[in-house]
Symmetry: C2
Subunit: 119 residues, 2 copies
């Protein structure tokens, strides 16, 4: 449903943001990339346990949107390492904003690591 | 999928935010409430054309989360007006952050109205 090539629902900037990131997983993959993860096995090991099929789908969309690039680090079978582009890294302060909202308004959340809050 | 009473996927504050708001519609309803809309017909008239069944589902979840309250303004049939609670209004700066990201990084978005950006 997200990161579609379909026509946007409107040109409201909030709606356009949700066209790209309005699902439960995409921004978690970006969080992990910002924390230095790069390989599928690393994303799958995160505590939210992203299903492999969703991970593959969302990563494909992130590549198509120019938020992520990839590079093969192994042949037979080919395996890729994924890295944020500048456009992808530009979401870092947005993720901090979401996390800080939850720290205040959702009980029992972890604290954002200082290194994540102030990169 | 969102605003579930289910156990959170993790206590990461970003993940918890997405447990609540990780869909394409919930934050658009909050946007409309912040702009002064209060009735179902008003939300349905927004340019993204939210389907009535999704609107009813998301509003029920927003009520359950204490982000919105409602009050009947008509009997037979009963119709309700919806308003943000303080907890709901606390999302205003988060929505501005999402919108400002899109203004810079997504082509052809509208500008956020000044009254929305600086409430």
């Amino acid at each position: 449903m997200t990161l579609k090539a379909d026509a946007p629902r409107s040109n409201c900037p909030i709606s356009r943001f949700l066209d790209l990131f309005g699902d439960r997983w995409t921004l978690l993959i970006l969080r992990d990339l910002l924390c230095g993860k790069s390989r599928f096995a690393e994303f799958e090991a995160s505590p939210e346990r992203i299903p492999a099929s969703i991970l593959a789908d969302r990563m494909r969309r992130l590549l198509a949107e120019g938020l992520v690039t990839r590079e093969a680090y192994q042949d037979r079978p080919t395996r890729h390492a994924y890295r944020l582009t500048d456009r992808g890294r530009s979401l870092h302060p947005v993720l901090v904003t979401l996390g800080e909202w939850s720290e205040i308004h959702v009980p029992d959340t972890w604290r954002l690591p200082d290194g994540f809050r102030h990169p």
